[in-house]
């Protein structure tokens, strides 16, 4: 018999390599991203003297000459260090139009060697006579900031320091978040509607047939996601198989071909297809454990089939319904690939917005904040899943 202490040491020694590996290759990247959502040192590093001279500024009117001198020198320096673009981009997100003001000022200031700096700057661009410019510099100059998170929930910090909602027409992210939740709920419901009877059929079929039918559910599960997405494009596009079929049997005219892809319909159809196995498998394993005699007993006691189903069968499948629905919903709200490929412009979800800010707008702080919110939501749902089902019992085909 091994001593308990040694056994404990042995267990730890076996787990430790993987734990360290995951901490470095996965948890550290996640942490890096979360840090980025609140930490943004670019402006603070590039304009230290400017920010220092703004310390004494009361925020009313314009700052003093020292601030103008500092910004003039530091803009030129930033241009030489090639950080000007990043600085200008960040300030521009707070006060639009400042990107060009910054780049133009830095270029023109090369030839200016002495003050008065305020006059020189105001001559280059009137924006330097606007307190809003200075507020924007001061706001972006904070190393640690909550503005990405405020942005991500369509709020902003006003110059007086108070927090307010964005004007109606500039609210983007909360409506998108809401749309993601609604679409995920719709997909979950569709999966339940389609998956419940199928799981029931498989669970109560004779063994050989059940295995065959289960394989039909597992084929899409194992097939490459990109293959499945390609398949839906081939089937649903305007010149695709389904439209051709509908036209040839005369259900729609040749000019009335349906737009079933590159929109929300495409996203919903393709995602339901992708996620359906995740609903069927937990339902199936719960239903298999329900003895057939229960329904027979209900029938023999005079219950009509619908009554027997609702009062006897359905309640016993609720654990499977809960597990499957929760899993499908969690997977749906974080989905990226399918909406990106078949969603067009109207079928995008929150993940696609993260990707947009990562790859196109290069607003990485905002991407990280949106990612942080999504991650928090998913983790909360998984904790619920762990409570109800147990996380190590995730079905894997």
């Amino acid at each position: 018999m091994i001593a308990p202490g040694r056994e404990r040491f042995r267990a730890l020694a076996l787990v430790l390599p993987l734990l360290v590996f995951i901490l470095i290759t996965f948890i550290a990247p996640l942490a890096t991203m979360l840090v980025r959502s609140v930490h943004d040192p670019v402006v603070a590093d590039a304009l230290p003297a400017t920010l220092a001279s703004l310390d004494g500024w009361d925020g009313e009117g314009l700052p003093d000459e020292a601030a103008y001198e500092a910004i003039a020198r530091e803009l030129v320096q930033a241009r030489e260090d090639r950080t000007l673009g990043q600085v200008a981009g960040r300030v521009n997100r707070v006060q639009s139009g400042l990107r060009s003001v910054f780049t133009r000022s830095a270029r023109s200031l090369r030839d200016v060697t002495e003050g008065p700096w305020r006059d020189a700057l105001e001559e280059i661009d009137e924006a330097w006579a606007d307190p809003a410019t200075w507020h924007a510099i001061r706001a972006t100059g904070q190393r640690f900031t909550g503005r990405h998170y405020l942005n991500a929930v369509d709020m902003q910090r006003l110059p007086d320091g108070s927090v307010a909602r964005q004007p109606e027409e500039r609210r983007i992210y909360l409506p998108l978040l809401w749309r993601t939740l609604v679409v995920s709920a719709v997909i979950t419901l569709l999966c339940l509607l389609l998956g419940y009877p199928v799981a029931h059929l498989i669970a109560h079929a004779p063994e050989r047939r059940a295995n065959l039918l289960l394989a039909l559910v597992l084929v899409p599960f194992w097939t490459s996601l990109l293959v499945r997405t390609t398949a839906w494009i081939v089937l649903l596009q305007t010149q695709g198989v389904v439209n051709d079929l509908l036209v040839s049997i005369g259900l729609v005219g040749d000019d009335g071909r349906l737009a079933m892809i590159y929109n929300m319909t495409g996203t919903i159809i393709a995602m339901t297809h992708v996620l359906l196995p995740f609903m069927v498998l937990p339902l199936y394993s719960v239903m298999r454990a329900i003895p057939g005699q229960y329904m027979n007993a209900a029938a023999s006691l005079g219950a009509r089939p619908a009554q027997a189903f609702l009062r006897v069968y359905w309640p016993q499948t609720l654990p499977g319904v809960g597990a499957g629905s929760l899993l499908v919903f969690i997977l749906a709200i974080g989905y990226y690939i399918t909406p990106a490929l078949v969603g067009g412009s109207s079928g995008q979800l929150i993940s696609n917005m993260v990707a947009y800010h990562m790859q196109t707008s290069l607003n990485w702080g905002l991407a990280a904040a949106l990612g942080g919110i999504l991650l928090a939501g998913v983790l909360a749902l998984y904790l619920l899943y762990d409570r109800l089902v147990g996380i190590e019992r995730l079905s894997l085909g």
Partner: protein
Amino acid sequence: MTAATGAPSAPPAPPRWLRGDTLGRFAYVAFCTLVFVFLVAPIVVIVPLSFNAEPYFTFTEGMLRFDPEAYSLRWYREILDNELWTRSLVNSLVIGVSATALATTLGTLAALGLASAAMPARRLVMGLLISPMITPVIISAAGMFFFYSSIGLGQTHLGLILAHTALGIPFVVITVTATLSGFDRNLTRAAASLGATPLHAFRKVQLPLIAPGVISGALFAFATSFDEVVVVLFMAGVEQRTIPRQMWAGIREQISPAILAVATFLIVFAGLLLVTVAWLRRRGRG
């Protein structure tokens, strides 16, 4: 309706209310059939279309008449001749096999430790090890992009191998842990009492018994890497493009039936995986 007799029926037998030729029964079977068609048909349709002689994505009249002229192998030839596709296959295999080897080794060791009752903080550790499967992949990809480029592993094969290993690990841990929960510890104790060293007992007694679980875990890990596109999208340069990345480009830019040929190849591959895992599972149970 006749009263149910006490005849015992095995659990998988269809309940009484579903036997008989009622309209409801018919509707139920018809509905389920439609769902199965929905699940499988899109995948099946791809296969014949990949033999299309014309650059279309739908069945030409010739194909519907089964005219041999309407079918051809041109898209398969195009793929095999295209260096982009062949190189991406090599990349996918190199990254997939390396990531699978790493994930399986580390994951199996960890599962052995996690199976021990003496393991401290078991739930927390399990949660951390499974987190790559839970996290939405766009978030993992964004974080990995920042982190790996900051340590000089952006746009390298090594970076992608490490990233894919992390994504595959939960599958290995879960399947091996599940297999181990059915493992009788007395067997290793018996081996030890007969004089086997722990390593020897593991190799000769425990490993052969949990092998089906380890292999399924490895297949899951490989399938994960082989189908992964988002992390590759963020981290890979031109030199590291994999098959899914190449397909992504094909779908986004110019969708050509050549993609359907690749897809057919991947469907066959998925079928093989499915059969292998089902076979392993039966063996693991028996």
